[in-house]
């Protein structure tokens, strides 16, 4: 796994707009976060993966809150810890709903490694139309921001803002889903 200096270099490149570096940062971060959450939620690996995904979206949408003059891991784990506390608070509120009698079935180890309980595809469908459309076109259909703007009749900055807001809404939906 990557160390502080490597991770930091990747995030800073990502902040400058380097897509490959940003992907590498999120991939390395996901591995560290998985270890972090699994250590703390031993009995519930699928909750841990939910939190990994939630935290990845948080790291991505809040990446401008990182200040290069401070350690990157402190920043990353502060966010991870915050998501965990938020999760436990939600879980505490609904702990009257017992998990007894829930058939979890056989565990497929490969499946378990990367799957979360919530389905982001479904959650995306719950976003406001403009945000959903912007994410759909640019993030899923791999269109450029310019093409997405032409297709929707919005301005390019409108598309960018909609993506950013949409991802923030998505994280709230990911977090809120556990509460229902």
């Amino acid at each position: 796994m990557a160390d502080e200096a490597e991770l930091r270099a990747l995030l800073l490149k990502g902040l400058a707009g380097d897509e490959a570096a940003h992907r590498a940062f999120l991939t390395e971060a996901a591995a560290l976060l998985r270890a972090f959450f699994r250590n703390r939620l031993r009995s519930r690996p699928e909750d841990a993966e939910d939190l990994v995904q939630e935290t990845l979206v948080a790291l991505h949408t809040r990446r401008d809150s990182y200040d290069p003059s401070y350690p990157l891991t402190a920043w990353m784990y502060a966010i991870a810890r915050y998501r965990l506390i938020d999760f436990l608070r939600r879980a505490g509120r609904r702990n009257h709903a017992s998990l007894d009698g829930v058939d979890v079935g056989d565990v497929d180890p490969v499946y378990e490694a990367t799957d979360a309980k919530h389905d982001i595809g479904v959650l995306l469908g719950q976003l406001p139309e403009k945000q959903r459309k912007a994410i759909q076109l640019v993030k899923l259909e791999e269109k450029s921001v310019r093409d997405a703007a032409t297709e929707t009749g919005l301005t390019e900055s409108d598309i960018k803002i909609s993506i950013h807001r949409g991802l923030k809404t998505l994280m709230r939906l990911m977090a809120g889903e556990g509460a229902s």
């Binding site: 990502g14 999120l26 891991t73 920043w75 990353m76």
Partner: protein
């Protein structure tokens, strides 16, 4: 969706991140909060009638309140973003309020014993600033919540308290235009307490609105 797919989605077409310009945003927020506070005082309470003659005391009370805000500011700035140490910034706040307590004692020692109570209470039955400053601070607190939600506070109770205290300092600056009491011991005691009340309210209430 698998985590790998999520990572693909997040990183696809990533743009250079904007510089957050948080210092400028914070400065504007505090300034707007101060203006709203001043308007609240001017309309709701009225500027003290002898403001011309009382320029000096009004000014020192405003400066005292501004100093409190300036001391709390570095703490609030750290708490806006994840994983930043508080270190000396907590110490600075503690030292400031310890100096306030010291100033209160020295000022009261300088009074004749029979006048001490009056100097401390400002001749009033109840130090209303403890109630009024939090009210005047509320708009600033709301603006600060709005600003801070755009960042990523992770210690919400502390961040709420810092927002409360900071807006309390701003509220006290505005309140100084109305406040009819000029004794040093009164201000160092009750203004400080008013700011502490703001911090407590912030920890209890404001923190609830910082969740993200």
């Amino acid at each position: 969706m698998k985590t790998d797919q999520l990572i693909d989605m997040l990183s696809r077409g990533v743009e250079p991140a904007d510089k957050p310009r948080w210092k400028r945003k914070l400065a504007i927020t505090l300034l707007v909060g101060l203006v709203v506070g001043v308007l609240l005082v001017a309309i709701g309470l009225g500027v003290r009638p002898d403001i011309g003659a009382a320029r000096m005391p009004v000014m020192w009370k405003t400066l005292f309140s501004a100093a409190a805000a300036v001391v709390i500011l570095p703490l609030a700035l750290q708490l806006m973003r994840p994983g930043r140490p508080l270190g000396w910034r907590m110490g600075a706040v503690a030292i400031f309020f310890a100096l306030c307590a010291l100033a209160t004692i020295i000022a009261l020692m300088g009074e004749m014993p029979e006048r001490r109570w009056e100097a401390w209470m400002g001749g009033a039955a109840f130090p209303w600033c403890v109630v009024l400053i939090p009210v005047i601070a509320a708009p600033t607190a709301i603006l600060l919540v709005w600003l801070m939600r755009a960042f990523a506070p992770t210690r919400l109770t502390m961040a709420g308290a810092a927002i409360g205290a900071l807006s309390g300092g701003i509220g006290a600056m505005a309140y100084a235009m109305y406040c009819p009491t000029d004794s040093v011991a009164f201000v160092t005691t009750w203004y400080s307490l008013a700011i502490a009340v703001c911090a407590a309210l912030g920890a209890l209430i404001v923190s609830k609105f910082l969740r993200w």
